[in-house]
């Protein structure tokens, strides 16, 4: 174990925890709001370990959406992890299969972003232990905060509208995801279709909106010539 690299990872991720802690608390509170208990909060956080999809799944379960819609929605949200997996894979190529399995489990937006930035810089660092310093810290903080949220959740009055914090978290992640005109169109179209389709049966509005929004983005990119790759 390269403790210096691990510690550098922990230090680099520290400022991001300011965003993770309230997000985790909200995810825990959302579990209670959906009528589910601590075991579900722990299960989602440990087994799924992906905040946005946890929140979406809880919201749909709370509305008694069909289980296939709950699963499809959560998985669509997590499809971005395919991108991170592809992008970081060359840096993990020389590790054993067992290490790859462990490193993949703790892959998140933040662990991906910080690690790839560090690998691309000139700074000499142990790839595995730097990544683990970032990713394991996020994992531990996420588990603690979702459990704390689930324990606190029952004590919060309805009038506080805490469930409103969920779309706010999504909003904060959405803005940096709009990188250019084509992603902007995907967001505008996806959001609009979701508003119009809110009344669709089986809570299908979100999936339809995501599909139409993605299509609009791809078509816009083709029409404008695109940026070819990155």
């Amino acid at each position: 174990m390269d403790t210096a690299a691990f510690r550098r990872g922990v230090r680099d991720v520290a400022p991001l925890l300011l965003g993770i802690i309230p997000f985790g608390l909200v995810a825990g509170i959302a579990t209670v709001n959906a009528g589910l208990g601590l075991p579900t909060a722990v299960g989602l956080s440990v087994v799924v370990f992906a905040g946005a999809s946890q929140l979406a799944a809880l919201e749909l379960l709370g509305q008694n959406a069909p289980l296939t819609v709950v699963v499809a929605t959560a998985v669509v949200i997590n499809l971005r992890l395919l991108m991170y997996s592809a992008s970081i894979a060359p840096y993990f190529r020389d590790f054993t299969g067992r290490w790859k399995a462990v490193l993949a489990y703790v892959l998140t937006d933040q662990a991906y972003a910080l690690s790839v930035a560090s690998y691309r810089s000139d700074r000499e660092t142990d790839r595995k232990w730097y990544y683990l310093g970032v990713a394991v810290t996020l994992w531990a903080v996420w588990q603690v905060t979702t459990i704390a949220g689930a324990l606190l959740g029952t004590g919060v009055p309805d009038a506080w509208g805490l469930e409103f914090a969920i779309p706010l978290v999504f909003l904060a992640i959405l803005v940096p995801a709009i990188e250019d005109a084509a992603t902007g169109i995907a967001a505008v179209v996806g959001g609009t279709v979701a508003v119009v389709g809110a009344g669709l049966p089986l809570n299908l509005g979100l999936l339809v909106a995501a599909g139409v929004g993605i299509t609009a983005g791809v078509l816009t990119e083709s029409a404008t010539g695109g940026t070819d790759g990155d």
Binding site: P22, L82, A89, F164, L171, V175, I178, A186, G213
Partner: protein, 109 residues
């Protein structure tokens, strides 16, 4: 809003989402060596997933076409939080603004 699903169904949903999410994470990390590049078509489509999905999750919470359930406090709080998100790209600042405005409207006005 509380679920009618039982513990077995919930556990099943958690397990299936967990397995499929892990499959997304592991996919290319496990494949590399065998497959050297992400197919360009897949990459082009995936690029739009976060923007489209997140917008579809966010907007209906702030706006609704159904006049009966339109909530002005959420609309105003959402709009101001969007402005802060745009300026700061900061999760914490966005949450503080959105919740703060919502509470100000509900409890102070």
């Amino acid at each position: 809003m509380a679920t009618n699903y039982g513990p077995v169904e919930i556990a099943g949903v958690v397990a299936v989402i967990g397995v499929l999410t892990y499959a997304c994470r592991l996919s290319f990390i496990a494949l590399f060596g065998r497959l050297d590049e992400i197919p360009p078509v897949v990459e082009r489509v995936l690029r739009f997933v976060p923007a489209a999905v997140l917008a579809a999750l966010v907007l209906p919470s702030f706006v609704t076409l159904d006049a009966g359930s339109f909530a002005a406090d959420k609309f105003v709080a959402g709009a101001l939080a969007a402005g802060v998100a745009w300026r700061t790209e900061d999760v914490f600042a966005t949450m503080v603004t959105g919740m703060g405005v919502l509470w100000a409207i509900r409890f102070l006005l």
